[in-house]
């Protein structure tokens, strides 16, 4: 079922609901129907909360009927990555180890969504504990890319991306630690944003890598992403790392597609071996398009970016080895091997071996190694120093340019299974996205066309300095406007009917 309602943007739906032309219940139902029809192929959701969603929709309609003010996205449906705690739905993080855990509290972002009248349709699939770039590390099977269901939707926020791309919901929320919003957005042909680190609250976001995790919006248009960014972001006293300041003016910027006079820096390090020609071609065109729109294109070099991958794969596993230690079968979740004779230590070890997947185990052990006495200085300690050098490269680059651009990821969506047991190959998907996580600055991916080789989506990554999130929206809006002029619609509208495969 693919009605007019599921083809609309969040912005359009919000207007419709506010004016009374459509009820929030109708809108929710239309999307729930779409989910029911497409889930067997896509497997984007781990939990669909139909009753609760309709209840929330009814509440919005009631408020509208009572003449109360509605927020800018009231009644709009949303797909929430299963890494956010929800007090009325299970939270699995794509893992067996949580064993059906129902959190006794909502994440701050979950609360903000509810207060805004956004209708949460359910929890989406993800790579286990956000570790991966394909959703194949989910304990519950991968999600599929609606552009070609034999291919991955990217990861770790693959479920939310697939859901939005397939029009199961106009809005999605993911988390980006090494690219886990931008990369799936790119390969699914939608918009995905990583706000400045600390811009959106991590309270209630099950931690993978504490100094890198950043919740962010997914949508089919830049304006929709900005509207959601505005609603979900802002200071949270429950998160000590959250920015104590106003949300940057992202909605204004999304409505102002003007880059005249802006300096756009092309990062020299993000090309070459490993980059699919079709991706580079679409990227190049996007850059030329920005130039035609009035931007000045320069080339910048960030020499330490070639160490970004090893730096990330030391810091993230180190933090996650500590963050995941709490999953020990003592207080909640899976418990294996407690036959009355075994010790706590044994039960912990058996449970964790049974409950965690291979990638999680690899990263935990890697982190334990990097933090071990005798190795700390050479590995974790060194990585944090090189991280400073990467931040300095960004600072230097932002002295020359207002924003930096690159492909969001080196290739289009790869086939399911192709890299599943090849960790190093899988890690390469994050080549372009990782530096912004290390430096904490804002970055997004906006669709810039289909690759010639395979007709699959390509994403343009735009990066801005810390706290300058509005800048990425301004440039993205310009690109989107130019492409819309060329194609007649946003790229997401071209997603094939799900019966088709390539």
């Amino acid at each position: 079922m693919d009605t007019a309602l599921t083809r609309m943007t969040a912005s359009e739906l919000a207007t419709l609901i506010a004016s009374g032309e459509a009820s929030a219940v109708e809108v929710a139902q239309a999307h729930l129907d779409r989910i029911a029809a497409t889930e067997p192929k896509l497997h984007a959701f781990l939990h669909i909360a139909a009753d609760k969603a309709l209840e929330a929709a009814r509440a919005v309609d009631a408020r509208r009927a009572a003449g109360q003010a509605l927020g800018p996205l009231a009644g709009v449906p949303l797909a929430l990555k299963d890494v956010f705690t929800t007090a009325d739905m299970p939270t699995t993080c794509g893992s067996r180890i949580l064993g059906g855990w129902q959190p006794p509290y909502d994440a701050t972002i979950t609360e903000r969504l509810r207060r805004a009248g956004i209708v949460i349709l359910g929890k989406t699939n993800m790579d286990e504990f956000a570790m991966g770039s394909s959703t194949e590390n989910s304990a519950f099977g991968p999600s599929r890319n609606p552009w070609d269901t034999s291919r991955v939707p990217g990861g770790s926020s693959g479920g939310s991306s697939a859901a939005v791309a397939a029009r199961q919901a106009p809005l999605g929320i993911g988390t980006d630690t090494g690219g886990s919003i931008r990369q799936p957005a790119a390969v699914c042909g939608i918009v995905g944003v990583k706000p400045t680190y600390g811009g959106s609250s991590r309270y209630g976001v099950v931690a993978f890598a504490s100094s890198l995790d950043t919740p962010g919006p997914l949508a089919r248009t830049v304006l929709d992403a900005a509207l959601l960014h505005q609603v979900m972001s802002g200071h949270d006293p429950l998160d000590s790392t959250s920015i104590d300041g106003p949300v940057p003016p992202v909605v204004e910027a999304a409505k102002d597609p003007d880059v005249s006079g802006m300096k756009v820096g092309v990062v020299a390090e993000f090309r070459g071996e490993g980059y699919q020609p079709g991706v580079l071609a679409r990227f190049q065109e996007a850059v030329e398009l920005l130039e035609a729109a009035g931007a000045k294109i320069i080339e910048v070099s960030c020499p330490h970016f070639r160490y970004a991958l090893p730096v990330y794969y030391l810091i993230a596993p180190s933090e996650c080895s500590s963050n995941l230690a709490r999953f020990d079968a003592m207080r909640y979740g899976l418990r294996v091997g407690d036959d009355g004779t075994r010790s706590a230590e044994e039960v912990m070890s058996l449970t964790r071996a049974a409950g965690f997947g291979a990638e999680v185990k690899r990263r935990i052990m890697l982190g334990t190694y990097a933090l071990s006495s005798g190795y700390y200085d050479a590995y974790y300690g060194k990585a944090q120093q090189v991280r400073t050098l990467i931040s300095r490269d960004f600072e230097a680059a932002f002295c020359q340019a207002d924003v930096l651009v690159s492909p969001a990821t080196p290739t289009t969506a790869f086939p399911i299974g192709e890299r599943a047991d090849d960790p190093m190959a899988m890690y390469l998907a994050d080549l372009c996205t990782i530096p912004s996580n290390l430096a904490g600055n804002a970055a997004l991916s906006v669709p810039c066309g289909l690759a010639d080789e395979d007709g699959l989506p390509v994403g343009l990554q735009i990066m801005a300095p810390v706290l300058a999130d509005d800048r990425v929206y301004r440039v993205a809006a310009t690109a989107e406007a130019a492409f819309t002029q060329r194609w007649g619609h946003v790229l997401a509208d071209e997603v094939p009917e799900l019966a088709e495969t390539r």
């Binding site: 100094s211 090893p310 706590a344 070890s349 185990k361």
Partner: protein, 97 residues
Amino acid sequence: MPITRAEVAHLARLSRLALDDAELDHLAPQLDVIISAVARVQEVAAEDIPPTSHAVPVTNVLRADECVPPLTPSEVLGQAPTVEDQRFRVPKILEED
């Protein structure tokens, strides 16, 4: 410096992961490859470079010493594998603290 299977087994113990032989055989070489790859950071000269503490630096984030209602015991214990006397019942602990 390659990492041996025995060292990987040790890491598994430290991380409380009861890996069987088949898993160890599978994961150990993969870890070896990854560790060699990440060891590249040692190429970078960084003697006087301060390690990044937080991506967006901030200090003194503190809260007032004021009470917030806690969870109820049923919320706390409701999904515990085993409960006794309103406490979490856990298997015997071997290591003295």
